[in-house]
Symmetry: C2
Subunit: 222 residues, 2 copies
């Protein structure tokens, strides 16, 4: 794995990252064995390239806003991103992604100096920011405050929701079949967002470029 | 383990936390096996009590300031801490420790709107803040930006520095003996700060209450 994964547990979250390409890394093995019980998960996995092998450049990124942990992951590249204002959210690494994340949080903090109450309005505001940001390049992004999960599509994002009765899913990239009935309760609602469909026997929805979907604890609401 | 540990790797850092008392937890086993190569580590381990079993209440805490990850852990309790100003560093959990950490970062950001260049002055300023904060209760704290590590003592903190020729250390709480020569290079300088001495055959220094020590990549400089 080259990449990282963030699990929310209540208001807290855990992140595991592997910035270097390791066929069998300690972190990757750990994540496989970790007993996941999380309301929201963001993962970012990619082909390794030279410019991005430091821990501080590895997605997802997490920062605090309004007393909540916000997490961000991004596929794509943006030109001229260093002109974007970030206020007191200063990038730690050197990626366009972290810079854009800092910019989004800064704009949110400026727009809502106090913790907002209407979260749909907040996420619509993020979508408007993303409409502008995607003019600078490619911006397929996931952003979450642990309760809501937003996917904004610039070129490629797909999603689906699984709920009872849970069936079996066949992964596209190998022969593994997963029986979700063995891993779920009947009241569970689980949505998955990915750049490309991950399974061959399920109905993935493509998000139209320039639009977004919003989930609340696994259920699509916008 | 009930507690957490943060490892710096360059400008990035990794945190592993176990908020619930588990005799053999997945996280604790992982940390034991994790191949540590870090310039700075902060750990916080304690007896479990009921008020602190959520992930967001578990030390250490990490936040960004001046484009660096700052990490904080604290032993002690403070009265009336909710009156302390935190600015845009809003606490995520409900501990006095995170609140105090937010207050320290906020005061630093106010004092140095731009990234400072004289880090000794910065840490002396933190010590002055701690002098005030400890009037509110007990404040044995560790704070680091990944390059420097500061230990401020309110009641109990001890430290030592290990360097070549490395010897063997006998842990106080069990029969284990560690031969540091097997785990170090001759140029390594490793300092350890703990509430109480961890080994019986080494010369631990007690930090005087109301004073601090400062380390830079393992070497004591103040």
């Amino acid at each position: 794995m080259v990449g990282g994964i963030t699990f929310y547990e209540g208001r807290g979250c855990r992140t595991f990252k592997e910035p270097k390409p390791c066929y069998q890394s300690t972190i990757a093995r750990f994540v496989q064995e970790y007993p996941i019980k999380s309301e929201a998960v963001i993962a970012h996995i990619r082909q390794a390239n030279q410019g991005d092998v430091l821990l501080e450049n590895t997605h997802p990124f997490t920062r605090e806003l309004w007393g909540r942990n916000w997490t961000y992951a991004h596929n794509g590249q943006l030109e001229g991103y260093k002109k974007l204002p970030v206020g007191h959210y200063r990038p730690i690494g050197k990626t366009d992604s972290e810079w854009v994340f800092c910019c989004i949080l800064y704009q949110l903090a400026e727009k809502y100096p106090k913790k907002p109450t209407n979260w749909l309005t907040v996420y619509r505001f993020i979508a408007k920011l993303a409409d502008q940001l995607k003019l600078m390049g490619v911006l397929n992004m996931l952003i979450s405050d642990g309760q809501y999960m937003m996917a904004y599509c610039s070129t490629d994002l797909h999603w689906l929701t699984r709920k009872a009765p849970f069936g079996k899913a066949k992964l596209l990239d190998n022969d593994i079949e997963i029986d979700f009935q063995q891993h779920t309760q009947t009241t569970d609602i689980v949505s998955v967002i990915a750049t490309k469909p991950l399974t061959g026997n399920e109905n993935w929805h493509r998000i139209q470029p320039g639009s977004f979907v919003l989930f609340h604890f696994g259920k699509r609401i916008l």
